[in-house]
Symmetry: C2
Subunit: 204 residues, 2 copies
């Protein structure tokens, strides 16, 4: 026992409550939202039950390693992400990473999402930084779509934001936009280098 941050009960309350799962569940839900999947879709893709996924996201179960592994693949979560989060509230107290604003990250086909502030479990907005790979094929036949609203700020690079109902919007570093993420949308980097974008997503 050491003079740990009073916030959590040190290493005592092990798995009794859900200080651990609290983080795990939130992170999985975040990742699912980022991909714009419903419970059903994600569960199907991971070959698990809808209810099981629901329980995991709400920390009402202690999932098996196998289940987590499948979800990890489906949601394309980086492995260290899961463990860092877990270690945070580890029973032994070792490896108590403090992420403090540094995000973890996750990679998809054309985007490289880096979830931010993942240590905070009870947030409604979901901020993440994405690296949009340079001219990485334009496949906006399938829009990204997730119930909610989104704010986007271009940190660096040049890109075009294509949306379902508006004309393509050319953006460059410093530009920002706000839109209904239920409307199909997608980005394409237009310069020869990757674009870096900050997104803040609000699920309804």
């Amino acid at each position: 026992m050491e003079p740990v941050q009073p916030e959590e009960t040190g290493l005592a309350a092990e798995a009794s409550e859900a200080p651990d799962g609290e983080v795990l569940g939130k992170m999985i839900r975040d990742a699912r939202k980022v991909k714009g999947l419903t419970l059903e879709e994600a569960a199907r893709a991971a070959a698990i039950g809808r209810s099981t996924l629901s329980k995991i996201e709400n920390n009402q179960t202690r999932p098996s390693f196998e289940i987590i592994r499948r979800l990890m693949q489906t949601l394309e979560l980086e492995t260290p992400q899961l463990f860092v989060q877990s270690a945070q509230t580890s029973i032994s107290g070792r490896r108590d990473y403090t992420l403090s604003g540094q995000g973890e990250h996750q990679e998809t086909t054309t985007y490289d999402h880096e979830l931010l502030c993942t240590e905070l479990t009870s947030k409604r907005m979901l901020p993440y930084i994405s690296t949009i790979k340079a001219r990485d094929v334009t496949e906006y036949d399938s829009w990204v779509r997730h119930r909610g609203e989104e704010f986007m700020y271009v940190i660096s690079g040049d890109l075009v934001l294509y949306t379902e109902h508006y004309r393509p919007l050319a953006m460059t570093a410093g530009d920002s936009v706000y839109y209904d993420s239920g409307m199909g949308h997608g980005c394409v980097s237009t310069s020869t280098q990757d674009a870096k974008v900050l997104w803040v997503s609000l699920e309804i």
Copy 2:
């Protein structure tokens, strides 16, 4: 008498056998052996039951994520290692890493073990490359000890191999030694830089 599906929900059938766990269990056992721990010791350290660990190592169970996480910490396994191994036989077939000689790695207090050929599950010898950190405190009051034999080859650096029954043996790049690993042993890097060593361990 209905024409019931032998496997229930179609796509979940994959986990029937244990092509997956086969790898996981072997890897955990390997890691435990490298650290020279018995089932009892490892289980105690990870706060799980002896029998549980036995079952996991023999792939007779599908452990929970939490359990694996604790073992990971206890055995100081690198997180990607676990998932790479799992992904290898992934149900979806994606991410079929072929490690082909490149090892994964794992870090202990003074050594940095990099398991080699981890994709091969049915091997008796356990090869790994260790980086022995430069002059990292000499604490050979507790010998390393694991039933079996060991071959050691110094790839780079200078070190001294201390053993329970013989005089300390100064070694440098290119030197090698073979010994009974049941005899207490330990290495100390004697130059100002880390030493790199190839070990091949044979558990009896």
